[in-house]
Structures are given as structure tokens and as C-alpha cells.
Amino acid sequence: MKQTNQFTQLVGSLDRKERPVDPISKPSGPGEESGPKRPETDSPSRDNLMKRMRKVDPKQAEKYRQRTGE
């Protein structure tokens, strides 16, 4: 189906790295470390994030207005 192909194409273009945690098979106890490591303060990925943050318009929230929802 045409729509399904477009759909898959768009979704396939999303960048997402896998760091799976199986919610039922690998429990770990308190104190054991799992998931991402403590953030490193000088890593290249931190620099990338800071670059992304600096691009944000400081007035963006001021301009953002929504109607009250539920």
C-alpha cells in the first residue's frame, strides 16, 4: 500500500540508538548499576547536546501559547 510505504520510510529515517532494558527478564537489585553511566562532563556527546541547546531561541517559550486542555 502506498500509504504504508511512505509511513515506513518516514519512521525509518528516525535516528534512535538501542539501549534496551527488558522489563520482565533482567531485574537488578538496589545498588546495582544499570542503564546509562553517570554523565561525563567533558564527553563529545555532551558538547553535541550543548550545541543543540545553544541553538534554541531564548524567546521560544515566551512566544509559545496554548489553550488550556484537560
Binding site: T4, L10, R19, G35, L49, V56, E70
Partner: protein, 507 residues
């Protein structure tokens, strides 16, 4: 234990047109939903199943606090050149989810799920579906001008919701539910809060400065209420079960934040489900909170987790200790701890331990910790204060679902978040509902007989059959055996008529 495990999440997204200050938000939200599907909107939502004035406390209110505002909106909307159905653009998708324009917010409601793995995959599928819709809309507009935010505030005093819903046996009286849930819900933000800079009220708007744990705590005004847009309650009393009323309630929680972290979504729903199981087993907390509304705001305003809240029976307690009390009691109260429940309890214990001793371990897992870490790094790098308006913009951008702009998306692309679902789980959830719930059956009806559907909602599907109107009642298809039986019939049927006949005639 609850007889049937079933839950779902409704998320209202924020929407912005960056190329126009005069764009009509109703039209923008409508056009976004319509961009997702081509063609006409024949799959009309059946609003007869909605009863927002019914109260779990056993009465029906004459009016909601928002009724006047709703009437005003309806009056304004009537001047637009669209019918009610066109403006709502209410879709049921092939995965059994509902996607529509809720006044001015595109809202995605997951199909009913039975497992944490499914609810997380379907919540993420919702983000992807909205992102696909935004890309299509932006193609028409000729630029990346529509942006979508999975958050709960506009930093001007307007909040919109992310509601988590649970099927509960009607045999549990409502007073027991309230008593058992309130301390848990007040402190649930410690594991499920999305974090927010500044403070807000509907009347006074936004005040910059500081960082708090929850996006919604500022907007909680009372303990119990049937209202959802004003006078918002910690525990919403709307009695709209979407299942057989004599047997079930639907717990409709409106206090939660929209989560970007999959792990936080899993823990939010998982721990709430565990507490409901405890209440079903007769659990009653050893204490009540003296002032739940004050407590939810006090806890939110203290990301260092040192603030004490008052107990009705005397003495004070930390938010962390409220949560610890629940998880410890769960191990004593629950008679049947399956694998998923064991995972929830272990992760819950671990998160509480890490929040106290090493919260940075939770970056990429718990939203408020992640956002606080990002903003703190930025404040230090840029040498700005916590009252700098730039921080509210960064807070907003944390929730942007555009992979090239969103701050959470950036963290995820760097591999610094913890996933519960695999990529293929999310892709599958975009196309199909859960195999073991009526949400999957609803989606299958859309896939197989979409052209024949005359109206549809949570509780059933109406078809235009060859011999007249047909109704597929989903009210009682709640357990997996019943769902599997219906699924087989639905897969084999050549027409809706076939399907209905095969379900009613014993073979």
C-alpha cells in the same frame, strides 16, 4: 488481585506554528490530524459512550467548571467553515488507538494494553505517528514550521494533560481506592515527574526561577473532583468505565506528566498498577497526608528531596519514604508476584535508592533528573541564572518530538537513554494493536472492514452491513481468552456480517 489488567495513556500534545503568530490553533490541530490519513473521515467517533458528568462518588454533577469555557469555544468554533466532525477529525487507527483534535491539542490515546512492554511501545508509537503527521503537514506548508511538544504547559499558565487509565473492579469501593492511592499519587512524581523551570498558576501565569519535579503539580487544586480543566484534582472522580458499569470502574488519573523517558513511563504505569493490585488485596496505608494538595506542590518544589510533608495522624514524612513504604508493603501484601511485577518492584526500589544516593545514575531514565542535569550543565556553561527566560525555552525544547531539535531526542540519539522497547516493537505498535486486548480487536476491525464502519468508540464498533446496521460489542471482551476467540473469528470473516454471525452462533 484485579480480575483484569488493562491500562492506557491519553496524551494531549502542544502544537506551534513558527511561521505565523495569527495561525488558528483549532485549524492547526485539525489539519495535523487530517494530514495523517488521506481521504475522507468516514470512521466517525461515537460520542454516546462519553459521560464526563458522572461521578464515582455516586452522583451526577449538573455542570463542570469548564462547561462555560467549552460553550464559548463551541460558539467560536461554530463560525469556522467546518462541521463538528471535521473539526474533531476523530480517527481510530489500524492499531486501535484514537487520534483526534481535542479542541486545539492533537490527542493520541493508546489502545488498551495489558503489559508494560506494550504500553511503552504504544506510547512511543503515538509520538512517531504525530511526527509523521507533522512532516506531512510541513510538506504542505513548505517548511519545518509545525512543531509538536509532548509536555504539559505553555509557561503562560495553560496546562494540558497526559492521563493514565486503569480498569478496576467495581467491587473495590471508591473510598478504599482514594485512601489507598492518595499518598502514592502525591509522591509518584519522584519517579514520573517530567521537571519544570519556574512556577505557574492559571490566574497569574508564569514566574521564572528555580526548578521543580513536576509539570502538573502547580495545577492541582483539590483532592477529588470530576473536573479536568479547572479545579483539577489529584484523583479525578469521572465515572466513565468504558466497560460493564456493574463490574468495573476506570481510574482516570489526570495528575501525571507526559514522559519522554520510556523507563519513566513503564515505572509510572507499573507502580500504579501494583498499588491497585495491593488495594484489591485489602491494603490500607498506615497513614494519610494532612494536606495532599499542599504536599504535592511542596514535594514538586524540592528536587533535593529533603522536604517533609505532614501526616494526618501526626509527624512528618519524606516523599521518598512514602514511596518506600508502598514498595515494602507491596512485597508483604501481594500474594502473586509475576515476572513483570517483580521487575516493577526491583526497579522501583532501585530508583528510590539512587534518587537518595546518586541521582545522576537516573539520567536518561527519569525525566526530571535528566532535564535538571541538562539545564544545570547549561546554566554553568553559559553563566546564566535560573531565572533566565532561556531556560523555559530549553525546558520546552526537551519535549519537542522533532528528532533534529528535541533535547530528549538528542540524548536518545547519543545513546544516553534507557529503552524499554525495541525499534521494531514501536514500528509494530504503529500498525497493530496488542494481540491480547480489545484494542487490538478494534484496530483489526479498522484494518479489515474500515470502509464498512459507521461509528466506533472504546466500547464497540457499528457497521453498515448488507442486511442493515451491525454492532460488534467490545464491552465484555476484556480477558485474553475472549480476545483470542474474537480475533480468530475476525480474521476468518469475509464481511462484518460473517464476523457478527460467527461470534453469536456456537460452532
Amino acid at each position: 488481585m484485579n480480575p483484569v489488567r488493562l491500562f492506557g495513556i491519553e496524551t494531549e500534545y502542544g502544537i506551534a506554528r513558527e511561521d505565523s503568530e495569527t495561525a488558528d490553533p483549532v485549524v492547526e490541530s485539525m489539519e495535523l490530524v487530517r494530514a495523517y490519513l488521506d481521504g475522507h473521515f468516514t470512521r466517525r467517533w461515537d460520542y454516546r459512550g462519553e459521560h464526563p458528568h458522572e461521578d464515582q462518588r455516586g452522583f451526577r454533577v449538573k455542570e463542570l467548571a469548564q462547561d462555560k469555557e467549552e460553550d464559548l469555544f463551541a460558539e467560536q468554533d461554530a463560525h469556522r467553515p467546518f462541521s463538528f466532525h471535521e473539526m474533531k477529525s476523530d480517527l481510530v487507527l489500524p492499531n486501535g488507538a484514537r487520534f483526534y483534535n481535542d479542541h486545539t491539542h492533537p490527542e493520541y490515546s493508546t489502545p488498551e494494553c495489558r503489559t508494560l512492554k506494550d504500553i511503552v511501545a504504544h506510547d512511543r508509537a503515538g509520538e512517531r505517528i504525530l511526527w509523521v503527521a507533522a512532516q506531512r503537514r510541513n510538506e504542505v506548508l513548505g517548511g519545518r514550521v509545525v512543531q509538536l511538544y509532548k509536555n504539559n504547559t505553555d509557561f503562560h499558565g495553560h496546562s494540558y494533560g497526559c492521563h493514565d487509565n486503569y480498569l478496576v473492579s467495581r467491587s473495590i469501593n471508591f473510598e478504599s481506592l482514594v485512601r489507598g492511592l492518595l499518598p502514592f499519587l502525591v509522591s509518584r512524581q519522584l519517579i514520573a515527574g517530567a521537571g519544570k523551570v519556574g512556577r505557574e498558576t492559571q490566574e497569574k501565569g508564569f514566574t521564572p526561577g528555580g526548578f521543580q519535579i513536576s509539570q502538573r503539580a502547580d495545577f492541582m487544586e483539590t483532592e477529588l473532583s470530576v473536573d479536568t480543566m479547572h479545579n483539577r484534582p489529584i484523583l479525578n472522580t469521572r465515572d466513565e468505565p468504558h466497560a460493564t458499569r456493574e463490574h468495573y470502574r476506570r481510574l482516570h488519573l489526570i495528575l501525571g506528566d507526559a514522559n519522554m523517558c520510556e523507563y519513566a513511563t513503564a515505572l509510572k504505569v507499573g507502580t500504579t498498577r501494583v498499588v491497585l493490585d495491593m488495594i484489591a488485596e485489602g491494603f490500607v496505608p498506615s497513614f494519610d497526608l494532612a494536606s495532599p494538595v499542599e504536599a504535592i506542590q511542596d514535594l514538586s518544589l524540592d528536587p533535593d528531596l529533603k522536604v517533609l510533608v505532614k501526616r494526618k495522624q501526626g509527624g512528618n514524612i519524606l516523599g521518598l519514604d512514602i514511596q518506600r513504604d508502598y514498595v515494602q508493603q507491596a512485597r508483604k501484601v501481594l500474594s502473586d508476584i509475576d515476572e513483570e511485577t517483580e521487575w516493577i518492584l526491583q526497579e522501583w526500589e532501585q530508583v528510590l535508592h539512587q534518587l537518595e544516593h546518586d541521582p545522576l545514575q537516573l539520567v536518561g531514565k527519569i525525566d526530571w533528573v535528566t532535564k535538571r542535569w541538562l539545564l544545570e550543565s547549561f546554566v554553568q556553561d553559559e553563566g546564566i541564572g535560573w531565572d533566565d527566560p532561556w531556560l523555559a525555552s530549553l525546558d520546552l525544547e526537551y519535549h519537542n518530538i522533532d528528532p533534529e531539535r528535541g533535547l530528549f531526542c538528542g540524548l536518545e540519539a547519543e545513546g544516553r537513554t534507557t529503552s524499554i522497547s525495541q525499534e521494531n516493537d514501536i514500528h509494530e505498535a504503529m500498525k497493530h494493536g496488542p494481540l491480547d486486548t480489545r484494542g487490538g480487536l478494534r484496530g483489526l476491525c479498522v484494518q479489515r472492514f474500515g470502509e464498512d464502519i459507521s461509528s466506533i468508540q472504546w466500547e464497540g464498533v457499528h457497521f453498515n452491513g448488507e442486511k442493515g446496521k451491525l454492532h460488534f460489542d467490545l464491552l465484555d471482551h476484556l480477558d485474553p481468552t475472549s480476545v483470542a476467540h474474537c480475533r480468530a473469528m475476525l480474521m476468518d470473516a469475509k464481511t462484518p456480517q460473517d464476523m457478527i454471525e460467527s461470534m453469536t452462533v456456537p460452532k
